[in-house]
Assembly symmetry: C2
Homo-oligomer: 377 residues x 2
């Protein structure tokens, strides 16, 4: 049994608009978030968790005792877990542009009284993190003990380290990159093209229509799901097994288990995610390049040499291959930072960061334990 937690909301930029990297502004800005554990008197035990593309601020616990599933990283957040809520105050917020309570394309534009749709401004990973800085200010926390996250969550983690180094003591970027590769951009774009191709998308103006672009969004999600697995994990999980039949049907029905898995997950996703948010969040990832302003990764981290880093990658992750993490580690070594790096042997592909619970628990637990000891928490 997990604990019950409430989603909270913080709204800022009601008067002075929030200026985005694009130059556009947003006003007001709402951030949906959850917290687990108790902030100590010194406000020195706060850990921020950053979520991935399809995640939300609901990282742990249940919203209701009847909930079938807990938050997305419940295996690692809670009493006695890697992010031990008996000792730490853990925060997770939904990113800007998403659809789990923070401002995004499905939000109501106060100027029109209708959902923004495509009139919502394009946001970046930097914008998402600056909204998190506002939230941390609101919670009265001057410095986070640590920021952690995998995949797009890891991009936010690196953004914290590079651009807000005075506000965080340590970071844990997992299965991520400092620079979105052309292959990653290509997969993002295919997902977006699948959504654009759905007539129900209607240039993003579907909120008051009878149909949403579910078919396009489902295809985008199916592509995503393949990339989160690995050739080996698919062999283990599905092989060439047929679903609920013994022989090939010689027809265009779902026959193989792997087809059934993709179709189920594609369809389920449309019940919980917004197609426009998929466009915005993938676009933010595509724009992510910490070297853009500085030219090199070493230069990007020149103010961040005093942070502690735990960098984690997985051997079978072909979406964010280990070389991305190794480049990062080289750059961090270049500025003389305190870096621990592990390339974890796993067959689970990119999803390993959510599935290798025992290894992750040991690794995260001991790193955070060390942070707590050194910070006197």
């Amino acid at each position: 049994m997990s604990f019950v937690v409430d989603r909270q909301f913080f709204t800022f930029a009601q008067e002075e608009p929030f200026r985005l990297e694009s130059g556009a502004t947003l006003s007001p800005v709402t951030v949906a978030y959850e917290t687990y554990g108790t902030l100590n008197a010194a406000k020195s035990n706060a850990i921020l968790i950053c979520h991935a593309l399809s995640g939300s601020g609901h990282a742990a616990g249940l919203h209701d005792e009847a909930d079938a599933k807990p938050g997305w990283w419940d295996e690692c957040i809670g009493p006695g877990k890697a992010f031990d809520t008996d000792q730490f105050f853990v925060i997770c917020s939904n990113v800007l542009g998403s659809c789990y309570g923070s401002s995004g394309p499905p939000s109501i534009n106060p100027a029109t009284g209708r959902p923004y749709g495509l009139s919502f401004p394009v946001v970046t990973i930097g914008d998402m993190v600056r909204a998190q800085v506002h939230l941390v200010d609101h919670l009265g926390i001057a410095k986070l003990l640590c920021v952690a996250g995998g995949s797009m969550g890891g991009m936010q983690v690196l953004e914290w380290a590079a651009h807000h180094p005075e506000r965080v003591g340590a970071v844990i970027p997992i299965a991520t990159t400092a620079r979105h590769s052309p292959m990653l951009i290509a997969f993002s774009e295919v997902g977006r093209q699948a959504i654009y191709a759905d007539p129900a998308w209607n240039q993003g103006a579907y909120y008051d229509q009878p149909h949403k672009p579910d078919a396009g969004l489902a295809v985008a999600r199916m592509v995503g799901h393949i990339t989160y697995l690995s050739d080996e994990s698919m062999q283990q999980k599905f092989g060439r097994r047929l679903k609920a039949r013994e022989k090939y049907g010689f027809e265009f029905q779902t026959e193989f288990e792997v087809e059934s898995y993709l179709k189920y997950n594609g369809s389920k996703f449309t019940e919980r995610f917004d197609a426009n948010s998929y466009l915005y969040v993938t676009k933010a990832m595509d724009y992510f390049d910490l070297t853009e302003a500085t030219g090199t990764l070493t230069a990007a981290f020149h103010r961040s040499e005093h942070l502690k880093y735990l960098v984690i990658s997985f051997t079978s992750d072909w979406l964010y291959p280990s070389y991305h993490s190794k480049e990062l580690v080289r750059a961090l070594n270049g500025v003389g930072a305190d870096v621990t790096y592990l390339d974890i042997e796993s067959s689970w592909g990119h999803d390993a960061f959510l599935l290798e619970v025992e290894t992750m628990t040991n690794l995260l637990g001991s790193f955070i334990g060390r942070l707590a000891r050194e910070a006197g928490v």
Copy 2:
């Protein structure tokens, strides 16, 4: 300048229907094909080339002197090339189920006078190859010197070796597998789902409609294109470069070069390929499993130990990773076959079989030279 060649047609099963692996029948069956070079008097110098998913029987030369592009493997087929048409008689035919002149879903069903659409029977790699056997019979060739092809072409090559070993002296399976993996099935299925999701697909009955399912087919092709490249080749080819602009646009337009490449290729593909054929041909690939009847690969080749094999894979091909070829080579060693295997160092991913022309020319040329010497051609 390349030579000019004509497409030819061979029709069989006009009286006795062609029985497919599914148990369904097809009548008549048309095979579109081309030949290059001259069949010798002994009919001992014939080489059959098998094409991949989106290919055709137009493997070399031009259809017209004004053609902008020659056939798909023109770099390797022609006078003095790897498949030297001064010495060999090279045949390439369009596979059943495709849309380049052989019987497929866009063909007219003689029973109705209208295109088959989804009433075309589902075909297998085995069916495609048995149609090729009919063509080879028609050409009066008792035994092919060699059968060669990459990707799905390689599956046909293996089918020839395993099921028609008395009709071929040697085979060259390139960048392929004897058993379509769940990851390959998953990518096929995503492509099919993108087509199904397009309302213009209309359950395959779009031939007399004003719109074809171009949007869905383009998405399917874009997914395909990513899988034919490699992370490294995309870094080399595109990097994070923007197309025709210097700064991020912060809008949902094609901005990165890799996006532009995908969109262009997706769109171009709809001008030349049929969406239903995409369904049929990918389905045939998904069903391909040489171990299905026999349990093991060694058993699948138990009648094929007297053939000569040149097996080729590419180090950066993550779609048909080298381990597929290595498993095949182990099985062929197991039956005591004459096998040459090369895992070619290349950064071009699956597309390497079309791009590594110099390496391929040397390798194919010397293997075929040996075959010709040994066969006294």
